[in-house]
Symmetry: C2
Subunit: 522 residues, 2 copies
């Protein structure tokens, strides 16, 4: 019947059929995800991928092997509509105190880590692929493969970790996840621009490009965020309607991403910092209703976009055309998969453990021994970054297809490789994540001590943090108040962070909005 519909309406409603089907599958996915929430093995991403696979198989049967996906993959769709809300929401919901407190560690993992991982994966595949009879990739392709498989997807681990139980770990995994996404996209674009024929001595150029992209994108995001905050404060929209406030926040966030893309900067970084600035200033200038609405609607849109992507990956895994195009034997294909997954494991281990040791030594010099990264934590950080997700897929499509279509067997093989790696890491590694973390971090035991230490780092701001829910805030504020008092009597930890807070209180908040810290009033 669906087949008939497809034919009947193909000319008249060319978008109605796929959109209806996709939305229906999305709804199904939501319901199944909810029902399986208590399950100890699966998570959102796994559910979406599996539902996608099932929908793909049904579609294959109905269309008699013609097609397994409803929508053809459009990297534009991904980079223009799906990615911006996900990254903006990450910035908007990030616990800023934790994020900035561990800023150096996060940046180290997210930036230096990607460089290390990219070089290992690029070098490894350059060395191994020809041995597996997989030829035909250019130097640029190998560099792209390095960045494609260096972008992690930490959603799965974050669903298992608890922000209140292991704040240091959570903020590192979360922060690294976002910075890592941004870094790999920026690096991917830097590699694209590279003139590979004159590669010698140009590594410096890539680094320069990277630093320029990184700093100017961040600046643009900060500026847009501040502008939004200023407009909201100066005009105090809320007097008349919260609809305007919400619209303005949504539109400005999107505009920041688009402007960055227009100026050939990294939209991801821009929209991430725009999100942080908006939740730090702009969010305080709007009515209570707008605060609740924005917080939840950004989370909702991000959630839908993520589910959408994983559903798509599940469906695309069954795209028979691409499988047929590959000219390699199944033996060498298995070899390639194994090789890629091995490189991912090694590439990540190569920076997580050394950089953790470095971070620990830095921290012990700063006499904050309690917040060191234990070996168990290092393993979890390593594990959390093994999953590959939406960004990998999108970058692979950008590198190896033309508007989602490819006729070259080598390119088709790289697309299927990416999909297999994403499926394998998400399903197998994802499956093992919950049990692993439960084994490594038994609840309310040992890790609790860290909480006090971390939460006490910089008191005051937590009181001004966007509340997650009504009930939560009331209960936690009391305990936080106690912590901040004991902290204040103890060690006031004069760091960059402290001076920033002073500056923030004295100049930024009066201009751009947001409540004042209690501490600065003492």
């Amino acid at each position: 019947m669906i087949n008939n519909l497809l034919i009947n309406f193909a000319h008249e409603h060319k978008k109605v059929v796929p959109i209806s089907l996709f939305v229906a599958v999305l709804c199904l996915c939501l319901v199944i995800g909810h029902l399986l929430e208590e399950n100890r093995w699966v998570n959102e991403s796994i559910v979406a991928i599996l539902v996608g696979c099932i929908a793909g198989s049904i579609l294959l049967l109905v269309t008699k092997g013609k097609s397994s996906h409803i929508l053809t993959f459009d990297e534009e769709l991904f980079f223009i509509y799906l990615l911006p809300p996900i990254i903006f929401n990450a910035g908007f919901q990030v616990k800023k105190k934790q994020f900035f407190h561990n800023f150096l560690t996060i940046m180290m993992f997210g930036v230096i880590g990607v460089f290390i991982s990219t070089s290992i994966i690029t070098g490894g595949s350059w060395w191994l692929f020809p041995k597996l009879n997989f030829l035909g990739l250019s130097a640029r392709d190998y560099l792209a493969i390095g960045t494609i498989f260096s972008s992690t997807d930490t959603v799965c681990t974050l669903q298992v970790l608890h922000q209140d139980e292991t704040p240091l770990l959570y903020s590192i995994v979360f922060g690294e996840g976002v910075v890592n996404d941004a870094t790999s996209v920026v690096l991917f674009n830097a590699v694209q621009k590279l003139d590979v024929s004159r590669l010698s001595g140009r590594a410096f150029r890539v680094l320069g490009d990277f630093l320029y992209l990184f700093s100017s994108s961040t600046a643009l995001g900060v500026l847009t965020g501040l502008l939004t905050a200023y407009i909201l404060k100066a005009l105090s929209f809320g007097r008349h309607s919260s609809v305007r406030e919400i619209s303005l926040m949504m539109l400005m966030a999107y505009l920041s991403y688009m402007l960055a893309e227009l100026l050939e900067l990294s939209g991801i970084l821009t929209v991430f910092f725009c999100g942080i600035l908006m939740s730090h200033y702009a969010w305080h200038n709007v009515t209570e209703i707008s605060r609740i609405t924005t917080r939840h609607v950004f989370a909702t849109i991000s959630f839908i976009a993520e589910t959408f992507i994983f559903l798509y990956v599940g469906m695309d895994a069954l795209d028979i055309e691409k499988w047929r195009m590959t000219k390699l034997s199944s033996g060498s294909l298995m070899g390639i998969y194994g090789c890629l997954i091995l490189l991912i494991l090694v590439g990540r281990a190569a920076f997580v453990f050394p950089l953790s040791a470095f971070a620990n030594s830095m921290m012990s010099r700063r006499a904050e021994s309690g917040s060191s990264i234990t070996f168990k934590h290092q393993i979890i950080i390593w594990w959390a970054g093994l999953m590959r997700g939406a960004v990998s897929i999108a970058l692979a499509f950008k590198q190896f297809t033309f508007s989602g279509v490819t006729s070259d067997p080598v390119n088709a093989t790289m697309i299927t490789n990416t999909i297999i790696v994403v499926l394998f890491t998400t399903l197998v590694f994802g499956f093992l994540t919950k049990p692993l973390i439960r084994y490594m971090l038994p609840h309310n035991n040992g890790t609790r001590r860290n909480t006090n230490h971390e939460a006490a780092g910089t008191p005051g701001e937590d009181l001004n943090l966007p509340l997650l829910s009504f009930e939560e805030s009331a209960a936690t504020n009391i305990s936080r108040a106690k912590e901040s008092l004991s902290m204040f009597i103890g060690s006031p930890a004069y760091t960059i962070h402290h001076y920033w807070r002073k500056f923030d209180d004295a100049y930024m908040r009066p201009l751009f909005g947001g409540p004042h810290h209690n501490r600065s009033r003492c």
Copy 2:
């Protein structure tokens, strides 16, 4: 500089430039609209159209007369992405008590009215256009013109009327606006299917088609709404996350529209009734946070979509290509505009005054003399429906262009005619609306009496209505409680509505959610 950008990025970022520009203009529009809110002449639509015109002129200058709009009009964009949220929000925010209490009157205006208005405009243009040297339109075109210019845009009037001061008037204008949109789209589609060569005796067929479309679309909307309510109630998502609840409501609403389009029903009617059902049942099954969020996010999306459309109309008015294509003298063009506006005025008067008289006589028979439609109200209802808006534009593009492009001079003329009529009615009639209503209905004077009468009609439900804001509900609930008590001692008004309420309490609410009326417990 924009010109350079346009050329540089045309191949690489073909969507980035227009989207960025459009979003920036939208933001500007929001800020200007806010600043002018206190102004007694302008309203949202006028601001958006004027900003669109200005942006269009700047673009014309920058591109040296090549193009005045950023995006080419895509009727798909309008019918798939912009219209559904606007109509869903109308259903979701409608004051159900008022709407259903005046259901018959609203239906009379919205359905019979469109039929009368369509026949007058079709007949009139058929008779007058050839006399103005405007030839080349087919019978189907004339029928389409009738429906195109029968769809009203009441946004402008609703911004001036106050729901609490003139509830009867507000609910009729609001309800008619929605039903009218739906009716004209359904009628437009029915006319499209008509085999015009065998027109004789087929008027009955159009009516049959119309009734089928109307009833099955409504049924689909009701079913989707009930299904959503049932899923939300049975699974009680809120225990885990409000994100899933909000996602499900958004996706199901959209799905209802898409399903209707897929089954060749009227998506507008479906999504409207889906909105009503969702706010009546589903909305009560979600957490407090989801309620606030959904209420405001639907309003926001609808607001953005509306502004988007009016902005577009403003830009398109300066599309020089279409103007050049017209082969008529400016004299006959003015004649056509005048003729169309005259027909709109006459076509609307031809049903508002007779139907009002009929409604009054029906009401007096039901011994509810207080809620009759006074002559002043009739004039306001007549005036409120004179504006033409987004739906007219979209239908005109659907009838007279192929994907927004036309090369036929007659069709190009009809497009520019529609744009001129929309601009004229929105700007001139819209401009006069605020002063007219202030003159006809001086605040807090005379109309107040009606309020008590209406608000007392069916007490109880108001208490369960989605709250508009925290402060408001507390204050109004007390006065409403008083009203409902005096009402209960007075006349219990046994109507269909009363029996429906009993049925709702006994069977529907226990199954699909929503609080119980106090009255049924007495």
